[in-house]
């Protein structure tokens, strides 16, 4: 039994917006695998909840008119992993969210919840950053879209305007981002299931026609700072570079110019820096291989 003040169940996106405007103090609950745990801990005890879990219109993956991949915010991790569109165009996202918790958590957890709680360790977040996802929010003034890097404000805080009754309704991956692009994600954790990332690293590349040069490389981390982040110095090393082990080494070391992990009881800064380099190299190498790259 949860210490909950009231439960408002939204019956449509419009209804959810109205409920938010009506109950600005209330917390939105999607799958609940974070919100309910916090409520039980006492952090959100005595709060009102607006449940959007019943909004099937926010579930599913599709390609929209502009050829964006559109992932409804309530799509569960397991459905993302199994989706043929994801498997075809951005398989790494399916792989990344297949490392969240365990199977039951992947059945209840949603990509919207994973991004809206604003935590840096979210397994979807680094891949969404590395693929320059667009976040779609719906509120009383209609739809607002913004790049995912702008969506994250600080640890635990994202750009959702409660005063406008906003909720996240979709995540989009533009065609320019996913076309002819291959990526790999490494979750570094203390065990192989039921864990949160000590560090997450997602890399993707687009290669030249002869597969010898990297046209575009993108890399993003979770837990390398208070919010998920790209590593532009590393990307600069790889962009336009000929593929070689030496380049991969330089790419890895360059991430240290960008990331800013902290010391905590979960892991030391020095340890996170060390594995960040190693993960960057391994992710890049694997991405190149997936793209059919030739390594000199």
């Amino acid at each position: 039994m949860y210490d909950m003040k009231a439960l408002y169940e939204a019956t449509s996106v419009q209804h959810a917006v109205e409920l938010r405007l009506e109950h600005p103090e209330a917390q939105i609950i999607a799958g609940g695998s974070d919100v309910l745990v916090q409520m039980r801990e006492g952090k959100r005890a005595g709060k009102e909840l607006i449940s959007i879990y019943g909004l099937d219109e926010l579930r599913g993956v599709s390609i929209d008119a502009d050829e964006n991949i559109r992932i409804g915010s309530l799509t569960s991790f397991s459905h993302i992993t199994r989706d043929p569109i994801i498997q075809k165009y951005i398989n790494v996202l399916g792989e990344a969210v297949d490392m969240v918790g365990g199977p039951q958590i992947r059945n209840i957890g949603t990509i919207g919840g994973n991004t809206c709680n604003g935590v840096t360790s979210a397994d979807s977040a680094s891949t969404l950053h590395a693929w320059e996802a667009i976040v779609e929010l719906t509120g009383k003034n209609g739809v607002r879209r913004l790049p995912i890097k702008d969506f994250y404000i600080k640890a635990g805080q994202v750009d959702i305007r409660v005063e406008d009754g906003e909720l996240q309704t979709a995540i989009l991956i533009p065609k320019a981002s996913y076309e002819n692009t291959f990526g790999h994600y490494i979750k570094y954790a203390m065990r192989n299931a039921m864990d949160i990332a000590t560090l997450g690293c997602s890399v993707n590349v687009r290669l030249s026609a002869d597969k010898k040069t990297i046209e575009r490389a993108r890399i993003a981390y979770g837990v390398a700072g208070p919010v998920p982040m790209r590593a532009p110095s590393a990307e600069a090393v790889a962009n336009g570079a000929a593929i070689s082990y030496e380049m991969i080494d330089r790419f890895g070391l360059a991430v240290l110019n960008d990331i800013n992990p902290r010391d905590s009881w979960r892991a030391s800064k020095a340890f996170r820096q060390h594995i960040a380099v190693e993960m960057a190299k391994r992710c890049l190498l694997e991405s190149i291989k997936l793209a059919g790259g030739v390594i000199e």
Partner: protein
């Protein structure tokens, strides 16, 4: 023997496979009041006051009780048999609720409410004012002069210090040419993590108190509840239903005394205490973190000239099982790798962390890690193959321990090592791995274990048993020894069927639930003793039952008692095997005979004055990814001589569980505390890294079956030993793969990063990159 030694299906398997097995919460009548505990949010200090006014206003709150309300009685909690010798009794050092807060999480008040939410809200609404004191988390720091004192009667926080002095260490180390192999070995605080949290419910009836509890030791809990409440022990009835694992945590009085007392404070109404997972980690019991300092003096041939071992055991805030654990750990040193000149000193020290108690292995996983790590270093020091070193210097056949009088009747150690080598492919793999030099290296390692069965001669060993001949010729049996998931009831049924002469173990109906009002007294599940001790009372009671059956059958058949046996549930004539009467006929006749009716039953108690050595080893194969600071256990084999197996499939399954616990102990588990506040950091199943099914290789359990001559059925310790040697085997495999000798558990990436960095295996390339 035909019924023992067979892999029969567990007697409780059907109910557990259908989900209808009743654990304490499933047996609870409706309408129980919820008791929620207010846990201290400081590591050390005194409660000055508790403002209960706000909590009392919450709808549904029935009563608030604080540390100022409880009886002024200090009581012990350890699940040990009571000692009639006051000098041997467990330390009584806690109250139902404590004004002197000794760890972050100590129990200071309770809220009793009609529903769960009101109870939770009530606890949050309590305002506790503390006088805070400095705290200490480390046992060696706690021993220093001027350290914060936890208990008045224990200067320097030393609960107890005991020693071993064999031979003459000081003289022995003067021998020329000795090699010194010295190390500090650190083991972490870990928790049992049975999947069912501890919980209980209590009510009063006819002036007595009944507590139904998730416990391993109902008869001991009766005594502790009586002591804690200042009530005659016979006023207390403890009922133990099926439990969802215990592993030693439930070999302690946890919240039964508090629950019983809360019931008495609300007019005997039904009250429940259900530990949350977070409470289970902090406010139940943990495994002692023990730090070892070992100095071994070996000759160039590897033989041990002298040895010195210091052990510092972190007891935490309350005595619980106290010094027994580190004493057992210390006791293994002169025995496993015997040394004529050995000095050991063991200290059990109070600190401001959760109280440590019994946990599967009882000091031996710690000792095994320290001892077999040091032994591995000894082997390396004289350039000897580590398995060969063990073969040469491990306890020999015929060894007799002066204290326990245990005898090593067979050459079990060497047989186990040989089998382990073969199963893991040792000779071939060490050759194959010798040339690994890249970032990913493989290694193989081994460690041995030593384990006593039961607690004789340190404490009482007794077991009682009752058998009733049913009208259909089956037998109903009650044991004081408890089923806690390990499969004891099935082993009991097999032994009883064998001893009586029944056709099948299914003809024995074991009453699994112990009720101290009706169940014969036993001590419960601990010390890997269930099958060993119950075997004696089962055999003895079966003999009494058989005699009664023969006497009645003799009246029916006019055959002599001496000429009878029971085979497959029939009384037969010994000389030719002719069936004289079935047990059903005898039972029916005896029950309904108008001239001479008898309910054929038997009951007896057996005092055990024996103990037995259980031995074995683990071999582990690892792959070490040096840059990623990760170790993968690729293969692991446990070989165990626990005597004759009563049920091989169940034995194997139990070993798997022990190996799994050892892997967790070695690789990932550790309960952490904030050094600045003493607050536990990871007391939940997400942050505490218990192994998942993806963190294991397949587990291989093998046995050497040397029948134990002191045992009724040839058995000896099975359940706990497999939790002991796994961690050092993995540690030694990493050592052999990388040359890095780790000295701290768990061997998780944090500790590997530090060790690999120190060894120069990891270049600080990231610094160059800056």
């Amino acid at each position: 023997m035909s019924i023992v030694g067979k892999s029969e299906i567990r007697v409780d398997a059907f109910d557990k496979a259908t989900g209808r097995t009743k654990y304490y919460e499933d047996r609870m009548p409706a309408g129980a009041l919820y008791v929620r505990i207010k846990h201290a949010e400081i590591a050390h200090g005194f409660v000055k006051s508790v403002d209960t006014s706000e909590a009392e206003q919450i709808k549904g709150v029935v009563k608030v009780l604080t540390c100022f309300d409880v009886p002024e009685i200090d009581f012990p909690t350890a699940g040990h048999p009571w000692s009639m010798d006051p000098g041997h009794q467990d330390v009584a050092d806690r109250r139902l609720l404590n004004r002197h807060v000794r760890y972050w999480g100590d129990d200071v008040a309770v809220v009793i409410a009609e529903d769960e939410v009101a109870a939770m809200q009530g606890v949050r609404a309590l305002k506790v004012e503390y006088e805070t004191l400095p705290f200490v988390l480390d046992p060696q720091k706690a021993m220093e002069d001027g350290a914060p004192q936890l208990h008045d009667n224990y200067p320097n926080n030393i609960l107890k210090h005991t020693s071993i002095r064999n031979g003459n260490y000081a003289e022995a180390i003067k021998e020329p040419g000795l090699i010194k192999v010295e190390g500090w070995y650190n083991t972490p605080t870990v928790q049992h993590c049975h999947i069912e949290n501890h919980g209980c419910f209590a009510y009063e009836e006819n002036g007595r108190i009944t507590v139904v509890s998730s416990t391993q030791i109902p008869h001991i809990i009766r005594r502790v509840v009586g002591q804690a409440l200042g009530r005659p022990w016979a006023d207390i009835e403890i009922v133990k239903p099926y439990i969802g694992g215990g592993f030693g945590n439930k070999q302690d009085a946890l919240y039964e005394p508090l629950c019983a007392w809360c019931s008495t404070q609300v007019g005997g109404r039904l009250v429940r205490i259900d530990c949350s997972r977070e409470e289970t980690f902090v406010s139940n019991r943990v495994r002692h973190a023990i730090r070892f300092h070992i100095i071994s003096w070996i000759r160039p041939d590897g033989s041990m000239a002298a040895r010195k071992v210091d052990l510092y055991s972190n007891q935490g805030a309350y005595a619980s099982h106290g010094h027994s654990i580190v004493a057992k750990a210390m006791g293994s040193f002169p025995q496993l790798y015997p040394c004529p000149n050995i000095e050991c000193d063991a200290y059990t020290v109070y600190t401001n962390i959760p109280a440590a108690g019994a946990m599967r292995g009882y000091g031996m996983p710690q000792a095994s890690f320290a001892n077999d790590s040091n032994i591995e270093e000894c082997a390396h020091a004289v350039h000897m193959d580590p398995v060969e070193y063990r073969n040469k210097y491990i306890m020999p056949q015929g060894f007799e321990d002066g204290f326990s009088k245990n005898v090593n009747y067979y050459d079990s150690h060497r047989e186990c090592l040989e089998k382990g080598k073969e199963l893991i492919g040792y000779d071939q793999k060490i050759k194959e791995f010798a040339n690994d030099s890249g970032p990913i290296r493989r290694g193989i390692g081994c460690a041995s274990f030593w384990y006593n069965t039961a607690v004789w001669p340190i404490a009482l060993e007794t077991s009682s048993n009752r058998m009733l001949l049913n009208l259909d010729g089956t037998v109903t049996m009650q044991c004081g020894e408890t089923e806690i998931g390990q499969g004891a009831d099935t082993a009991f049924a097999q032994m009883a069927a064998e001893a009586i002469g029944l056709k099948s173990y299914k003809d024995v109906r074991v009453i699994s639930c112990q009720d101290t009002d009706v169940t014969p007294t036993g001590l419960g599940a601990y010390a890997s003793r269930q099958t060993y001790v119950a075997g004696f009372s089962i055999r003895q009671t079966a003999e009494i039952l058989r005699k009664k059956i023969f006497e009645y059958a003799s009246k029916m058949t006019r055959q002599t008692v001496e000429n009878m046996d029971i085979v497959d549930g029939n009384v037969v004539r010994k000389i030719d095997g002719k069936v004289l009467a079935s047990l059903k006929e005898i039972a029916m006749t005896a029950q309904y005979n108008p001239q001479d009716s008898e309910h054929i039953t038997a009951e007896s108690t057996f005092t055990i004055k024996n103990n037995a050595y259980s031995f074995g080893c683990t071999f582990a194969e690892v792959e070490v990814d040096i840059p990623m600071c990760k170790v993968t256990v690729k293969n692991i084999v446990n070989v165990h001589d626990c005597g004759s197996l009563i049920n091989p499939a169940l034995a194997e399954a139990q070993v798997h569980g022990g190996m799994s616990m050892a892997i967790g102990y070695g690789m990932s588990e550790q309960l952490l505390f904030d050094q600045k506040t003493g607050k536990p950091l990871n007391n939940n199943l997400l942050d505490y890294k218990l192994s998942t099914v993806m963190d294991h290789p397949d587990l291989e359990a093998a046995f050497i079956e040397n029948p134990e001559p002191t045992s009724a059925f040839g058995t000896k310790a099975l359940g706990e030993p497999p939790a002991c040697s796994g961690a050092p085997a993995i540690r030694n495999a990493i050592y052999n793969a990388t040359g890095v000798a780790l000295h701290t558990l768990p061997m998780n990436p944090h500790n590997l990063f530090a060790a690999f960095t120190e060894a120069g295996l990891i270049q600080d390339s990231w610094q160059e990159g800056k």
